[in-house]
């Protein structure tokens, strides 16, 4: 292990290290803590310039209730879910199929196809913006959840295919070969041999791209415009314009917007990090 474990050092060093990590963490998250604190303040406090002291009144519940009752925040949250869940399922399914084909079949153009998926995944969004917007309008899907979902499935398929292909390539060929000799059909092989083996990768991938899609802002600006379909990222930035000075409400809204991916992250931390760092240890 590197650096040397602190347990092997002197007692004072140990104590200071154990204190230092918490101090560092406090400083690291200070901007966020400030927002969290603000979301519990009253208008009176903010008007009086009490931004950093103890709130004279704790308005935590009131502020959050206000956000949910006085603004379309609940609608935005729901929209984000309506967009994100199908997009995750779609992208993961398509890329598992594609990843399997790229990993375990030999055919011409295999490397080229794989390279296209990788490259496409890194392009700047702006080079896709105008054509994708027009395509969405032409299909009659502008300002609908389906328009966003389709785009997210298509775009995330690039990253997901890279991910699944690299995972599946590591699975033993013998299993698949043996099944082929037995006369099992290719679809059955995929369904009953490959799919159970890739389950851990599926979980990691799903958690990861849930966060990517949930946090998308650019496409939410480009492909939708009404409150009825707007996801929470675009919603909160629209609310920011309307609330101007009501910082306690903006703060509460931000906290709400951040919460779902955070909860998911803490619930599935191991999967999340496995997904994110795939390739960081090899390749």
């Amino acid at each position: 292990m590197f650096p040397t474990p602190v347990e092997k050092k002197s007692l004072p060093f140990n104590i200071s290290y154990r204190v230092a990590i918490w101090v560092a963490l406090f400083l690291w998250l200070l901007p966020l803590l400030a927002v969290l604190m603000t979301s519990a303040r009253s208008t009176a406090d903010l008007n009086a310039g009490n931004y950093w002291g103890i709130p004279t009144q704790w308005m935590f519940l009131q502020n959050y209730t206000l956000v949910f009752t006085q603004t379309p925040m609940l609608r935005y949250l729901l929209n984000s879910l309506i967009i994100t869940l199908p997009a995750v399922i779609g992208a993961v399914s398509l890329s598992t199929l594609a990843g399997y084909a790229l990993a375990k079949f030999k055919f011409r153009g295999r490397i080229g196809l794989f390279a296209a998926f990788i490259a496409g995944n890194f392009v700047p969004f702006q080079i896709l913006m105008i054509p994708v917007r027009n395509l969405t309008i032409d299909m009659g899907l502008y300002d609908t959840a389906s328009g966003l979902i389709l785009f997210h499935i298509a775009f995330q398929t690039g990253f997901c295919t890279l991910f699944m292909r690299n995972f599946i390539v590591g699975l033993p060929d013998e299993l698949i070969e043996a099944a082929r000799v037995e006369g099992v059909s290719e679809w059955q092989i995929f369904r009953h041999i490959v799919l159970p083996l890739v389950r851990p990768a599926l979980a990691a991938l799903a958690v990861l791209i849930f966060t990517f899609i949930w946090n998308d802002y650019f496409w939410a600006l480009v492909l939708v415009q009404s409150d009825e379909v707007r996801p929470i990222t675009a919603g909160i930035s629209a609310l920011k314009g309307q609330w101007m000075a009501s910082w306690q409400l903006i703060s509460a809204g931000s906290i709400i917007a951040a919460l779902p991916p955070v909860i998911l992250f803490f619930a599935m931390q191991r999967h999340f990090i496995a997904g994110l760092t795939l390739g960081a240890t090899k390749g």
Binding site: F2, T4, V6, R18, I21, W22, A24, L25, W28, L29, L30, P31, L32, A34, V35, G49, Y51, L94, S95, L97, A98, A101, F105, A115, F117, I118, A119, G120, V123, P124, F125, Q126, I127, L128, M129, I130, L150, G158, T161, R180, S185, W187, N215, Y217, L221, V222, A234, I236, W247, S251, S254, A258, P261, F265, Q269, L276, G279, A280, T281, G283
Partner: protein, 291 residues
């Protein structure tokens, strides 16, 4: 039977690939070509397109806003490169097994999980000239308060710092995973040889962390060139376009100024810059594939 099987093996991969390839081509591959094609036209996004050859590009090169955005992108690239080394330092700092460390690591990673829109709001709040934490802090050291986000000299750096926050967290996680997978034998052997501290890091640890460094640099470069969300939420490119980047400039021109052809030209330039990195990444990736 055998024949049926080899036949199946020929067309099954096509079936497996078809949905992904069709959708990916429709939404990613073709649009790239369409955008490049569009950059040779004058178009308001709705009416007739007029072919204008390279004139969008000529106009771009004499457009001051373009150069501001391009230079800002360069600043993003340069200063974002702080993320991998700081991430490494944090990872080294946190790579211990004391009580509560799992929680601490998870909380350090926090900024990466939340949306950039929220990061933007958090930092707008942090920089606020009258009550923001940033100005409170510099006042302690006797400096005059700075309105970071409305000062054209500071604004881009202010936004970059906001962007570094989640990016450092990302790099830290990459390195923590890398540190977890170090070969204990090599470290022990180096320790017996008397290596420690900086020497150990430089000659034994860093070479083993190479894959993590590679990924960290790739995602950081891509992140720097893709910067849009923070600019859009924190300043909308202002004051007077001084914090714009190519990604935001393109969006502004096409959506607000109805200049789709011009926007496409900006996107093409950004795409060409990004291509250098994409090509490098692909080359590395495919090389390790053959090895």
């Amino acid at each position: 039977m055998q024949k049926l099987h080899s036949k199946q093996q020929q067309w099954m991969p096509i079936l497996f690939l078809a949905p992904a390839v069709i959708l990916f081509s429709l939404y990613v591959i073709f649009p790239i070509a369409q955008s490049i094609w569009l950059s040779f036209f004058e178009w308001d996004g709705l009416g007739e397109k007029t072919f204008v050859g390279l004139s969008n590009y000529f106009e771009l090169f004499s457009d001051e806003q373009f150069w501001t955005a391009l230079i800002n992108n360069l600043y993003w690239l340069i200063f974002f490169m702080l993320a991998p080394p700081i991430g490494l330092l944090l990872a080294l700092f946190l790579n211990q097994k004391v009580m509560g460390i799992r929680f601490v690591k998870a909380m350090f990673f926090f900024p990466f999980v939340i949306s950039q829109v929220v990061v933007g709001l958090v930092f707008s709040w942090f920089y606020d000239p009258s009550f923001g934490l940033f100005n409170k802090a510099i006042e302690l050291f006797g400096f005059q308060p700075i309105a970071v986000l409305s000062d054209e000299h500071w604004v881009t750096f202010g936004i970059i710092v906001a962007g570094l926050w989640p990016q450092i967290a990302y790099c830290m996680i990459l390195y923590l995973t890398g540190l977890n997978n170090l070969s204990p034998d090599q470290i022990e052997a180096a320790r017996l040889d008397g290596a420690h501290g900086w020497k150990m890091l430089r000659h034994v640890i860093l070479p083993q962390l190479k894959p993590a460094t590679f990924i960290a640099i790739v995602v950081t470069v891509i992140g720097a060139l893709r910067s849009f969300d923070l600019v859009a939420t924190m300043t909308s490119g202002g004051p007077f376009g001084s914090s714009s980047v190519l990604a935001y400039f393109m969006y502004e021109q096409s959506i607000f100024n109805y200049r789709a052809g011009y926007g496409a030209a900006i996107a093409t330039i950004l795409f060409l810059i990004m291509d250098i990195y994409i090509a490098y990444f692909l080359w590395r990736m495919l090389k390790s594939e053959k090895a």
